[in-house]
C-alpha cells in the first residue's frame, strides 16, 4: 500500500434487510485530501462514514485505514476524530466536563488543549450550563470540539453544519479550511452544496448504492 493512501475502501457492500445501501464501493483517499460525499437523504452517506470509522463492517470487501484493515487488524482506526449523526454527551454535566471525560479515556492531551478546542469552536469553557440545556447548535459545536481536540490526522464529519447559525457555519468552515491547510484528511458528508464546494478537493455522489465521481 502506498504510504500516501490513508483510507482505502475496496469493493465494499452493505445492506440492511433487503435494501442494499452500498454496492461494491471503491475509494482511495490520500493523506491530506479533503473528500466530500453528497447524496439524498438515506442514500448511504452516513453508512459510508461509519464504515470508515469502524462503526460498521462491510458484508463484502474491506476498509483499510492507516494500513490496517478494520474488523481484522483493529476494531477501530487510530487517530480519527469524528462527528456522526446527532452528537451525544452526558446531559447532566457541563461541556468542559464532558470533553475532559472523553480526553481522560485516551489521556493524550492536557486540560489546556481541551479548553483551546472549545474556544476554537466558539464555546465558553467556563460556562457551567449542563449539556442537556444546550441548543442544537451548541451541541454541534461541542461535537466538533471533541472531534478536533486530540489533533486527529483524519476528520470524519457527517453534516457538521447541522443546527449552526450563519456565523457558526462561517466559523466552522474557516476552522476546517485551517485544518486542511495543516494536512488533516477531511471526509465530509453534507447536503449543503456550498460546504462541499468550499471545503472539498474531491467529490462523489452516492446514487442508489454506487459512487459517482463528480470532480
Amino acid at each position: 500500500m502506498d504510504t500516501q493512501e490513508i483510507i482505502k475502501i475496496e469493493n465494499a457492500s452493505k445492506s440492511f434487510k433487503s435494501q442494499t445501501v452500498l454496492k461494491g464501493v471503491n475509494v482511495t483517499v490520500l493523506s491530506g485530501q479533503s473528500f466530500g460525499f453528497v447524496g439524498q437523504n438515506g442514500s448511504g452517506k452516513t453508512v459510508l462514514l461509519k464504515l470508515i470509522c469502524g462503526l460498521m463492517y462491510p458484508e463484502q470487501g474491506r476498509v483499510i485505514v492507516g494500513g490496517k484493515q478494520l474488523g481484522k487488524d483493529v476494531d477501530f482506526p487510530e487517530n480519527v476524530g469524528a462527528i456522526i449523526e446527532a452528537p451525544g454527551f452526558i446531559s447532566y454535566q457541563s461541556g468542559l466536563k464532558n470533553l475532559l471525560y472523553l480526553a481522560s479515556l485516551r489521556n493524550r492531551i492536557r486540560k489546556e488543549d481541551v479548553i483551546e478546542s472549545m474556544h476554537t469552536v466558539g464555546l465558553d469553557p467556563n460556562d457551567k450550563k449542563h449539556v442537556g440545556k444546550y441548543s442544537l447548535g451548541m451541541k454541534q459545536r461541542l461535537g466538533i470540539a471533541q472531534a478536533i481536540m486530540e489533533n486527529p490526522s483524519i476528520l470524519v464529519l457527517d453534516e457538521p453544519m447541522n443546527g449552526l447559525d450563519k456565523n457558526g457555519v462561517k466559523d466552522i468552515r474557516t476552522l476546517l479550511l485551517k485544518l486542511k491547510d495543516k494536512g488533516v484528511t477531511i471526509i465530509l458528508a453534507s447536503h449543503i452544496q456550498e460546504d462541499i464546494d468550499i471545503l472539498c478537493d474531491t467529490v462523489y455522489e452516492i446514487d442508489e448504492g454506487n459512487l459517482v465521481f463528480i470532480r
Partner: protein, 256 residues
C-alpha cells in the same frame, strides 16, 4: 496530588449526583420502614439489606419484604439505566474511537458499573449506619440491635450484595445494548428477579438455584444451613455469568 485528585474526579464524571440523592432517599425510607420490626437481634444492615428471610410463610408472600428488596434493586438499576442512557448510548461512538477496541471499551463499562455498585452500597451502608445510630436508637428500637452484630456478617453481606449488583448491572447493560430498549431490559430484569424471588419463597428448597435470591444474605448458607445457598459458589457462578455476557456482547458488537 491535586492532579491525581483532579484526574480521579474527571474519571468519575459519569456519576449522576441527583440519582445518588434519589438512592439516598430510598435508603432513608427503608430505614424508617424498619422501625418497629421485630427481628430477633438481627443486625440492622442485614435486616434492611439482607433480603427475605427463609422461613415458613404458610403459602403466603411477605409482600412488604418483597417490596423493600425490589425497591433496593430497582433504584440501583435506575442508576445503571441513567448511566447507560447518558454515557454508554450517547457517547458510544466517541468512546469507541478513543478505546480503539471493543474489549477495552467493555472493560471500561464494567469498571464504571463496579464504581456505581460500590458507590450505591457505600451510600446505603452509611445512611443505614448513621440513621440507625441516631433516629432509630432514639426510638428505642431494641428489637433490632443497632449496628450490633459481627463485622464478618456485615462484610459477607456487603460482598454478596456487591457481586449481585455487579451481575445485575452487567446483565442490564448487555440486554440494553442488544435490544436497544432500556425500559424493556429493565422490566425484564425486574420480572426475572420478582418471579424467581416468589418461587424461592414458595419453594425454599429450590431457592439456592434461583438468580432472584442470589444477592440475598438472609437466604444464604450463613443464615440457613438447610435451604441457604453457599456464598462462594454463587459468587463464582455470577462471575462466570458476567464473563459469558461479556463474550455475548463482544460477538454481537463485532457482528454489527
Amino acid at each position: 496530588m491535586t492532579k491525581v485528585l483532579q484526574r480521579t474526579l474527571t474519571k468519575l464524571t459519569f456519576i449522576n449526583l441527583p440519582m445518588l440523592l434519589l438512592s439516598s432517599t430510598g435508603f432513608v425510607l427503608l430505614c424508617f420502614s424498619n422501625i418497629g420490626r421485630t427481628n430477633n437481634g438481627t443486625n440492622i444492615f442485614v435486616s434492611i439489606l439482607g433480603g427475605i428471610e427463609i422461613q415458613d410463610y404458610g403459602g403466603s408472600l411477605p409482600l412488604l419484604e418483597l417490596g423493600k428488596w425490589l425497591l433496593i434493586l430497582s433504584i440501583f438499576l435506575l442508576n445503571i439505566g441513567n448511566y447507560i442512557e447518558n454515557e454508554v448510548e450517547a457517547m458510544q461512538l466517541y468512546a469507541f474511537l478513543r478505546y480503539r477496541s471493543y474489549k477495552r471499551w467493555w472493560i471500561h463499562l464494567i469498571n464504571n458499573i463496579t464504581v456505581l455498585a460500590v458507590t450505591y452500597l457505600v451510600f446505603g451502608f452509611l445512611i443505614i449506619g448513621v440513621l440507625g445510630q441516631t433516629v432509630l436508637s432514639k426510638n428505642n428500637i431494641e428489637s433490632t440491635s443497632i449496628l450490633h452484630g459481627s463485622t464478618l456478617q456485615v462484610l459477607s453481606l456487603g460482598i454478596t450484595l456487591f457481586v449481585h449488583f455487579l451481575f445485575l448491572g452487567v446483565w442490564l447493560l448487555t440486554f440494553t445494548l442488544i435490544t436497544r430498549k432500556y425500559i424493556l431490559s429493565f422490566a425484564g430484569t425486574m420480572i426475572i428477579e420478582c418471579s424467581t424471588l416468589v418461587w424461592g419463597i414458595l419453594a425454599p428448597q429450590n431457592s439456592k438455584y434461583l438468580p432472584g435470591v442470589w444477592g440475598m444474605y438472609l437466604r444464604s448458607k450463613g443464615f440457613s444451613t438447610k435451604y441457604g445457598f453457599f456464598v462462594p459458589i454463587i459468587i463464582g457462578v455470577q462471575v462466570l455469568l458476567i464473563l459469558s455476557l461479556s463474550c455475548i456482547i463482544m460477538r454481537k458488537m463485532k457482528r454489527n
